[in-house]
Symmetry: C2
Subunit: 319 residues, 2 copies
């Protein structure tokens, strides 16, 4: 991962115009969890790929991820990201739109640098493009849900599949393709990634309400404050009696409430309806499906255990 950081440090070096490339450099060198390139590298190791040349697809997926963050922050009016001003706040929204556009294409260029067979490269490009379009679909569903009267569990799960899971799955499959894994194994690692991503996002939803405030990166209760229709909220609305439903809709109808009062009231309903337990069960079912795919994969690499442990860790985290 050190390699990746220094790669990003040197990728942009004083290119002009400054107002295009400074924001791109700013975003790429801000750190972050780097989960996506890590997954590309682990899948590559799992199938015995070249650990040096995998840097290009790994960097490409992290760049794709960062491009989506730049544009999402404009849409969400988010002032901060990773504790620093977002691009559109630090510069302006025109610069943020363009820097995102440039970064999205630079991600493709990075992928196109991968020294591998032309056939593999094209397959990686097709996967990359499909992932990128699906993320747009997920983000649009997420925006649509903000103003929707009601959202079904199925629609919500499909949204997080597109917005979160396909990217993790795409990273893993790209690593497998780079390592010339068999087609069946490429599909298995993709399915593993989809289920891992679903579990990961459901855990995120749980942590927003039940996470350890000191450890949890974001402010606890942010989803409740912003009236986000998370899986917990959707299930609660489904299980609620008339009084509870009225209360939930009352609190989710405005952002003008005292935060602590709203958070406590909503959490009390979640507790009464045992929403946490039900969400954890659904999350666990995705963890089980992920592990089942992983077990089927033909590999003696220690990366298999690493991915197994990562799955358990991501879904038992408290931050």
């Amino acid at each position: 991962m050190k390699q990746l950081e220094s790669h990003f440090e040197t990728l942009i070096g004083g290119q002009l115009p400054l107002n295009l490339y400074e924001p791109v450099h700013y975003v790429l060198t801000q750190g972050g969890k780097r989960i996506r390139p890590y997954l590309v590298m682990q899948a590559n190791e799992l199938f015995g790929g070249n650990p040096k040349t995998v840097l290009y697809p790994a960097a490409a997926f992290e760049m794709l991820h960062n491009f989506t963050l730049i544009h999402d922050d404009i849409m969400d009016n988010a002032p901060l990201r990773r504790g620093k001003p977002t691009v559109y706040k630090k510069w302006n929204s025109s610069i943020a739109i363009l820097a995102g556009d440039a970064l999205a294409t630079m991600a493709f260029q990075e992928l196109l640098k991968t020294p591998c067979s032309s056939e593999t490269l094209i397959e990686m490009c097709r996967l990359f493009a499909r992932t990128s379009v699906e993320i747009c679909e997920g983000q649009q569903y997420d925006l649509d849900f903000e103003t929707a009267d009601s959202v079904s569990k199925e629609a919500y799960l499909d949204m997080i599949r597109l917005k979160t899971a396909v990217m993790l799955a795409g990273c893993l499959k790209a690593g497998a393709l780079h390592a010339s894994a068999a087609a069946a194994d490429c599909n298995r690692i993709y399915d593993f990634g989809i289920n891992l991503g679903m579990a990961f996002q459901l855990q995120d939803d749980i942590l927003d309400v039940y996470g350890d405030k000191a450890l949890f990166g974001k402010v606890c209760g942010g989803d409740i404050r912003d009236n986000k229709k998370t899986y917990l909220y959707i299930v609660a609305l489904e299980k609620a009696d008339e009084a509870q439903r009225a209360k939930l809709q009352h609190y989710f109808g405005s952002t003008d409430f005292d935060f602590q009062e709203k958070y406590n009231a909503v959490k009390a309903i979640f507790d009464a309806l045992e929403i946490k337990k039900e969400t954890e069960q659904v999350m666990q079912s995705y963890v089980d499906k992920a592990i089942a795919q992983l077990v089927l994969i033909h590999s003696d690499s220690p990366a298999k255990e690493t991915l197994h442990n990562l799955t358990l860790k991501l879904c038992n985290r408290n931050q």
Copy 2:
């Protein structure tokens, strides 16, 4: 070109989410001059390529062009495009950002459908990505120039090279690559396109001031109204005496003037300094360079004469 229109009609057919794909369909089926796919097809014909499969790179470049328009219209607060509301006006800016993002990636997907050798496809992808990044650079320079105290002729010419010319050059080279043209010819048709694009944009600058109002698509004098630092303005500022410079800077320092008064005053200075003639000379030098490249290309196809005539027509148009 009919094939292209029906291709765009059927490319999007009720995909979900509607708020993502409706704006994309709206933009792609609005017509427009289709110069870019026309150039891809002509270059393909010039080198004897398959006229059916060239549809994919042709569509891809037109989609790339339309993606840039969707995002540019947000940055420019433009209410209308081709006589219809822009995406950000008809929907909103979040939807316009996302529709543009999706369309940019769908353009790549379209290119990746081209049935040709893997090596050619990768070369087309690299060209496509480079073109896309350079257009971002050109747009950023254009934004930078809005607030710059002064812009040199060289900086302006470099901006229009990136913003306009590389796209036309990229279209032509993509057509040549698709037709498996020799490397030297691919480079010649690219250089032809750069010079054609430069001449085309300079003619656009001239027409904004001197075009036939009835024929010219846009409102005449729009660049003057918006204080755009066009080639004419930059040369005028360079040649102006003290009184003329003061007057130009006075009128370009605000948008609050009566339009007709401002237009007449600025045009009178341009006339006195013979700016039209000087700009036409520079434009003509690009036309000459374009033709010189075209002549060197090895081809007996009638497309050679078509491209020759197109060059003369684009640079002698009055609309």
